[in-house]
């Protein structure tokens, strides 16, 4: 009885030792991959940061209005943020490759999915950033055009355009990520529809007087001005 117990225990111990002996090289491999991954990710981060600084990406980001958003959220500059993002994506990629070397069942599938997701993530970020850039540009263009044409409420026109472009680019970004596609589509439709309805109501009911004043100023005023001489700038 005792002898059998000792044999079983010895066999179990051998198996544990054998398993550990089999696992240790894989673990070492994982650690080496993670370590090399860290170095590569760090190099990538440094290269990207240098390129972005040379390309004055922070300036572009400032023009897009992204810098202001980041400042409000107490986040670092967009160059730093993007460099860190690339570092973490690269390193997590290496960590997952390293973990897959351990041979854990089902891990390969997750690693594959992660790498499959990366292009979509970058596409979504790209869409979002250029959406911000476009919203900043077009809202400012609308503001200037409205001020120079002496239209009422230029800032309202400008911020409406900004909001529409941001909502539109965020919805495209989420769709690209495959996150809550239907919810985003419905939300976008609701936001857009309610905005249009709100504007129609505001102008038709709430802004009736404003509309009348505007039309009067536009046409009655112009009739008055016919008698005035126009200044020639050149």
């Amino acid at each position: 009885m005792w002898e059998k117990f000792v044999n079983e225990l010895t066999q179990a111990t051998h198996e544990i030792v054998r398993s550990i002996a089999q696992f240790l090289p894989r673990l070492m491999g994982t650690l080496i991959i993670v370590l090399i991954g860290w170095v590569i990710a760090y190099i990538l981060k440094s290269i990207l940061r240098t390129i972005l600084r040379l390309a004055r990406f922070d300036k572009l980001s400032e023009h897009a209005g992204a810098t202001q958003l980041l400042k409000k959220a107490a986040l670092p500059s967009s160059t730093e943020l993007l460099s860190r993002f690339v570092f973490w994506v690269a390193w997590i990629g290496f960590i997952l490759i390293g973990v897959s070397v351990l041979g854990i069942v089902g891990m390969q599938e997750h690693v594959g999915r992660f790498f499959g997701f990366l292009p979509r993530l970058f596409a979504a970020l790209f869409v979002f950033f250029f959406g911000l850039l476009a919203s900043s540009f077009f809202s400012r263009a609308a503001l200037l055009a409205a001020v120079n044409a002496d239209l009422p409420s230029p800032r309202l026109i400008s911020s409406t355009i900004r909001t529409l472009i941001i909502v539109f680019s965020v919805s495209i970004g989420f769709e690209e990520l495959g996150l809550a596609e239907h919810t985003v589509l419905v939300a976008f439709s609701i936001v857009f529809g309610s905005l249009m309805l709100g504007l129609a109501l505001a102008f038709g009911i709430g802004g009736r007087d404003l509309a009348r004043q505007f039309l009067e100023r536009r046409f009655v005023h112009e009739k008055k001005e016919e008698k005035e001489d126009e200044l020639s700038p050149l």
Binding site: H63, F137, R140, A141, L143, L144, A145, A146, V147, N148, A149, D150, P154, R155, E225, K227, E228, D229, E230, L231, S232, P233, L234
Partner: protein, 422 residues
């Protein structure tokens, strides 16, 4: 060759049929049926009267008019002259009307005229605005004679104008151009001007034609190029400049093709203007300036409202362009009642120079920077109208001179802003 791309085959054939000429007159048009006939007639009369022995050609560069402008030019080229029935040609006076590609653009029209001038080896050239309904045959002599007789390379016009006409030129383009490029050219964005074949070829060889500046605003860049290229400049008095009606919305394009090009040129010519200090007069033929004073009705209150509205609404845009002290001062000025409001010369000069520096640094889209200057210019216009309401011609002139001196005095401020801040 530059002309190969701009001259169409048909136009080229017509030019080759003309052969070499001594004088070339360019008339850029776009829907000018109402005025172009009498302008072409006056040009013909001027050429026949003052340059009967020279080989001459009138080139009409049209931007695709839909009101029969080109037909009217052709008709005016062969009709009897109203200006002088006794005028007879000693040589054939050619006249060609051609449509340039790409739609109406004053720069492309000028490019076409320059290319034609180079091809025909014209030694003396002039451009006449089709809007100049007051043109007299004598204008041709006043413009062309200094080039062909006195060897000047660029002759810009001097006009008799109403004291409240050309306010953008008086309040910004002339003083700034004078302060930075050190030449007192009264009309740096000329509607009429004459130039030598030498300057024409030099200007044609510049590399900006494919850019936006090459489409609109090439006229002011021609003046600047003549200064930076050390060509001989003169100004010639022509007569009364007819008033051109401009809708208020025209101010933005006018700003783009004058101030926009002036700002743009600063970047190209920094080593030149950065080293200059005092301005120099250039030879003037005839009266130096004449101002008419008849009363006109202008809505000053509206100008003030648009200024105040602009300063308030554009605050986020102005913040990225102006320094904090200048913006604060502007906001303080905008808070004052209309009757007490004054946009001082010093504040105006600082504003313009900070805009120029921000344009150089591209703090936001360059076109947006130019557009943002429009409401502020309206504020300055208000002050100019107020200060010169009852002013005599001499007082108007002395006020313009004071502004010019302020632009010259503050030039170091622009240099300081140029590479500093942001």
């Amino acid at each position: 060759m530059a002309e190969e791309s701009i001259l169409t085959d048909d136009f080229l054939r017509e030019l080759i049929n003309v052969g070499e000429v001594d004088i070339l007159i360019g008339v850029p048009t776009y829907n000018h049926a109402g005025t172009v006939g009498q302008v072409v007639q006056a040009i013909r009369a001027g050429l026949l009267q003052y340059f009967p022995r020279q080989r001459a050609v009138i080139i009409n560069a049209d931007g695709g008019s839909k009101d029969a402008t080109q037909e009217l030019v052709r008709a005016a080229s062969i009709s009897d002259l109203q200006h002088g029935p006794n005028l007879h040609a000693l040589r054939t006076l050619h006249s060609i009307s051609a449509q340039y590609p790409g739609g109406p653009a004053s720069g492309v029209a000028l490019h076409t005229i320059l290319a034609a001038a180079e091809l025909l080896r014209a030694t003396t050239c002039a451009v006449i605005s089709p809007d100049s309904t007051n043109i007299e045959p004598e204008w041709l002599e006043s413009l062309l004679r200094p080039v062909c007789r006195d060897s000047f390379d660029l002759v810009t016009p001097l006009y008799r104008r109403h004291k409240f006409d050309g306010l953008l030129v008086r309040n910004l383009v002339y003083p700034m151009n004078r302060a930075l490029y050190s030449r007192r050219v009264r009309e740096p964005y000329p509607a009429e001007f004459a130039f030598s074949g030498r300057l024409g070829s030099y200007f044609l060889g510049q590399e900006f034609w494919s850019q936006e500046v090459g489409r609109a605003g090439a006229e002011i860049y021609l003046t600047i190029s003549a200064i930076t290229g050390d060509f001989r400049l003169a100004q010639s008095f022509l007569g009364t400049k007819s008033r051109v009606e401009h809708a208020p919305a025209d101010l933005v394009p006018a700003m783009r093709q004058t101030v926009g090009v002036l700002f743009w040129s600063l970047e190209q010519n920094f080593p030149f203007w950065g080293a200059l200090s005092d301005s120099q007069a250039i030879p003037a033929i005839g009266a130096e300036h004449e101002v008419s004073l008849e009363p006109i009705r202008v809505n000053r209150k509206r100008l003030h409202q648009m200024f105040v509205h602009g300063v308030a609404e554009l605050e986020p845009v102005l913040k990225s362009i102006l320094t904090a002290p200048t913006l604060t001062e502007l906001q303080r000025a905008a808070a004052v009642a209309e009757e007490d409001f004054r946009y001082s010369n010093e504040l105006w000069v600082r504003t313009v120079y900070e805009f120029a520096a921000s344009y150089h640094k591209t703090v936001i889209s360059r076109d947006h920077i130019i557009q943002a200057l429009v409401p502020l210019y309206r504020g300055k216009t208000h002050t100019f109208l107020l200060e010169n309401h009852d002013a005599s011609a001499d007082e108007v002139e002395s006020n313009v001179e004071a502004l010019c001196l302020a632009f010259e005095r503050f030039k170091p401020y622009l240099l300081e802003q140029w590479d500093g801040r942001k």
